[in-house]
């Protein structure tokens, strides 16, 4: 099993949360996993990218044109980070604008359900998992979210993820 995923967003959108959830899921499946993150500026609104490499990789970075999946928390990031994706990669974008990718207006979905804007990250993750696009299935990811989220955010986090799954099917 090998899967290389990029998570691209703006600092504060929860790219690191998704990265860690996916890494925990891989570890729970007994798969080797290595991730690379943008630090320091991560909470200050700039463009950030994380990489998750599941499988027997040595290095933490994904070369240009090699990523299998891309989760884009902000549509502006498509132009910046799309070059990491290989031909035919699964691309999931948080946007109301359709295009040559799978789009989902997670921001509006969150607002409609009374969830905070930052919940868009888990809605997008739920959507990608619901589409069957990730190495880990929705059930395992739900387990990870339940286990790793602080109690006061748990219910909202699970609700956001479920919302993504429902939208996918």
């Amino acid at each position: 099993m090998k899967q290389q995923i990029i998570v691209s967003g703006l600092g504060g959108q929860g790219a690191l949360t998704l990265t860690r959830l996916l890494a925990e899921a891989a570890a729970a499946m007994g798969l080797p996993v290595i991730t690379s993150e943008t630090h320091g500026m991560a909470q200050r609104g700039g463009t950030v990218i994380s990489m998750i490499k599941v499988g027997p990789f040595r290095g933490p970075l994904i070369p240009a044109g090699e990523a299998d999946r891309g989760l884009f928390l902000h549509p502006r990031n498509l132009a910046v980070h799309r070059f990491y994706l290989r031909e035919g990669a699964g691309v999931f974008v948080n946007t109301a604008t359709p295009g040559d990718y799978r789009s989902l207006d997670a921001q509006s979905l969150a607002a409609a359900q009374g969830l905070p804007p930052v919940a868009a990250n888990l809605i997008l993750l739920g959507y990608a998992a619901g589409r069957g696009g990730l190495f880990a299935g929705p059930d395992l990811l739900i387990e990870m979210i339940a286990a790793r989220t602080p109690e006061r955010f748990r219910e909202a986090s699970l609700k956001a993820f479920q919302l993504g799954i429902v939208t996918a099917v």
Partner: protein
Amino acid sequence: MFAKVPVLDPSSPREAKDMVTQALELSERFGLPVMVRPTTRVCHARQNVSCGAPVRLDRPAQFHKDPRRWCATPVFVLELHRELNGKIDAVAGLPEFAPQLTAGDGSRPGVCIIASGVAWAHTGDWLEELGLLGRVDFYQVTMPYPLNRDFMKTVRSRYEKILVIEETYPVIELQLADARVQGRTSGLVDRAGELTPDVIRPVLEKFLALPVRVAPAPPGGGDRPTLCAGCAHRAAFYAIKTAFPAGIFPSDIGCYTLGVNLGAVDSCHCMGAGISQAAGFYRAYVAGGGEFPTIVATIGDSTFFHAGVPALVNAVFHQARFILVILDNATTAMTGHQPTPQVGVTASGEPGHPVFIPDLVRASGAGFIKEADPYDLPAFLDLLKSADAYCRSPEGGVAVVIAKHLCLLDKEARKSQAVYRMDVSEACTGCLHCLEDFECPALSLDESDGRVIIDAGRCVGCGVCVHVCPEGAITAASGVRP
């Protein structure tokens, strides 16, 4: 290498964890400092690792007096240096730290690739993908210094074509000292910059005469980071550049380096340098015989504790005239919110004896020390102007302004301050002053009517931007929380 410190290069977080144990054992065995050197990508990576039981050393601290060993004075230093050379020679002979070979199948005789650290990891991933792992001799150097003696002999005698891929400086290359080696010295590997997979791939293609893979090029761009909405540093920077439009603004390393995007930071070098640079600017302008401009150095509270104090003492002592603004947000915001010594709590959460910045500043001899909250922008502006007047007065010197406001990434701090309901009235002319010169991420331009709007999701209701709008179009209503 010239410090003669043995170095271990981990290629991954997992290896880094294992190497700490090896490094400690090596250090204890030879009585030497040993360095574990993860470069950027290992430091910024996470990986699943297995944890062993912690080993307790259970030995009491006991210092054995031995000046011959512990006093590097001229009397002892020659013998100490000879001893050190002997230790390094011994470490270079240890088989357990010799490079690890993934042997080729003989199809490329006389050819080898030598790599260390994360560059080895990236190279290995490429060789595997290219089906060349196990086809060409591939060495992982786990200890780039001192390079294993037998390994150097083997490389020189067995190979004709040798590629070395290492971050950061060509330490392995320098020790191999062989004209046949290709790498950073020969120019096959770029002499500057990180060795990412995308940098390494073309190197391998050239060295192994492989077909060239056409990879998509990074288009660049992206959003630059900015200070958080409500960050008091933004208010302080706005006041500084408003008060002194022709000023010089040396700064330092932290979140506040982002002031460069606000035009309120002109330099950023090593920690503490901003204060010394301010003193240097003053000296240079005075030496030139002209008027000296207002110089405002900024430094964060943690950076001031770490490296600002000696520079301040030096500046005061040598009678420099500039304003030092210490941006005191009571935390180390950029690197993970460790408390500063002033908070009186250690990084591990235990009580410490607090050390106060005003006490340190007073002890430095600075003759002007004032504390203020930059949220009160008009008052802060006035304070800066009086600081400038002090600098320029006959008895003047370094004026220190401590800009105090808690970092808002601390949720408790956010809860403790007043929150205003912010709005933009019809009076907004769309002049963009607030967007270009204040750059709060909660403010943006509504393209449809050319007026500024406030993103309620990002606005923290600090109320500072009220003072920024030249038209008075930004309004603050109290009531959300007084």
